[in-house]
Symmetry: C2
Subunit: 298 residues, 2 copies
């Protein structure tokens, strides 16, 4: 019996254990990072906002001139199949479309047959449970986020070397994670997350050059419901440093407090009340049938 307990993947139209989930070295999804992807998550056996993730994924594929013979509903089914095969109740569920291979001898992407992959693996956290309470130490990187004039950030993509180098820089400078900046030093985003600064009853979050995160969207919706104002504009590093609270948002962990930036405490230096309120509300939404659906594991 194949062991699906560490995850399951959909490759070449088949469900396989994650250990066997592979892509050809020659696929341009690897050789040119010519791919788009999305990640949804499963919490207590329920998918959270899956349709929003699938919709964004299909939109990204369109912008990259990619197509696959799967409808929105097909994709939903494949992702559910991956989770069901793995048996995981808390899972990180990724869908990927790659360019594929060109015709022999060609370098024309239009000759490629686009490829679809998906996999479910155990839930991944940007911050471990202790850090979700204590908060993370964030370093404002000297590296700049790849600008929208080079790569459309609304197409979720694997161009991460800026953030990887930012992480190494953050570790060197005593931090735990990083946020990369724009040409003027405004904060943009970190490896897999959006960022918010709270001042009074206003949330400020960067808008230019960022991925339009689904967790970011959830926070914007919650803010409106809770009576906070959300402003989407440039966020200078100094404004984050002097905010009451700072938090980051990601499918990989939800809402996570930043309690220190570049060695200096944010606000009280501990997780603030707004961040706590949002964390509580975020996980409560995971019981809301409007945002979730239950996987039938039988």
């Amino acid at each position: 019996m194949p062991d699906f307990s560490r995850g399951a993947a959909y490759v070449d139209g088949q469900l396989v254990p994650i250990a066997e989930a592979k892509i050809s070295l020659l696929d341009w999804g690897f050789l040119h990072s010519d791919a788009t992807y999305d990640v949804a998550h499963v919490w207590k056996g329920k998918f959270f906002r899956l349709d929003d993730h699938v919709e964004r994924f299909l939109s990204g594929m369109g912008k990259l001139h990619m197509s696959i013979p799967h409808s929105h509903d097909d994709l939903r089914s494949i992702l559910v199949d991956c989770v069901r095969a793995s048996g995981l109740r808390e899972a990180y569920v990724e869908m990927v479309c790659t360019r594929g291979f060109p015709k022999p001898g060609s370098r024309d992407p239009r000759t490629c047959t686009n490829q679809f992959f998906a996999f479910a693996i155990p839930f991944v956290w940007i911050a471990n449970p202790q850090k979700q309470t204590e908060g993370l130490h964030l370093i404002v990187s000297r590296w700049q986020r790849i600008p929208p004039e080079s790569v459309d950030p609304t197409v979720k993509n694997y161009h991460w070397l800026d953030m990887v180098m930012g992480l190494f820089e953050a570790y060197d400078r005593g931090g735990e994670t990083t946020v990369v900046v724009d040409t003027r030093g405004n904060l943009v985003e970190g490896p897999g997350f959006n960022i918010f600064a709270v001042k009074g009853r206003t949330f400020t979050t960067p808008v230019r050059g960022v991925l339009e995160g689904i967790t970011r969207r959830t926070v914007i919706e919650m803010a409106s419901e809770y009576g906070y104002e959300v402003v989407q504009r440039n966020l200078p590093a100094e404004e984050a440093r002097t905010a009451d609270e700072v938090f980051v948002t990601s499918t990989a962990g939800g809402i996570m407090p930043i309690t220190k930036i570049d060695g200096r405490a944010i606000g009280s230096g501990t997780r603030g009340p707004v961040t706590q309120e949002l964390q509580k509300g975020y996980w409560a939404l995971h019981e809301d049938p409007h945002h979730t659906f239950k996987i039938d594991y039988e």
Copy 2:
């Protein structure tokens, strides 16, 4: 008997037919395009400037904080083994180092074991033989090359979405290939190639934000020997459009003429004498023992 005739690869320490050469979907080389690579070529059974490629590859790995248990000489041997297994006399030979996987539950790249892959496949041309004589129609893209403040271009990398989107734009506008630009509209590079403009006895080639191509270096060395001056500086699109000749350089095909830019003829609109002289000289160097070494296929 496994069929190595379409190429051979080195994966997990084993030589395998190219059709079996695969990488895990979970390797960050794929999921974060966290990888560096290099490509050398074999012509008439001889490697061309292999040591220069291996040296650049090892330098890129260092800049990305990657390491593998293979010396320069080990890498040479592995690459020769790939070519020998394939039997190919004209081959495109790629070496790749990926970040690998983090420890379970971690997102810290320092916990990863870096992975090495290599493969030899039939030689790939950016321009087919007819186009090497006729010249290509180049479109100056509206897309900007990922800037050096985001990704160090001297680390040869797979962040190509800017160039892929540039290619689609070029096809839409009636062209055959593309060159992406910087924030001021200066030409930077194309998908896999550097660019040169010739005016009188001077070659101008972009210097900022470009990969320091080995074929580019070969042209610079040849220029000096043939009595041309080479200037490395910004190259505005208009200067290329009004040049006597324009050519591009790549391991995937050597020196290739650009005879039209954005629908307008360059110079006479046919391959110019300087480009021809360089093409002849470039292929002659493939007989020069200083730049090549013969593979023992027995």
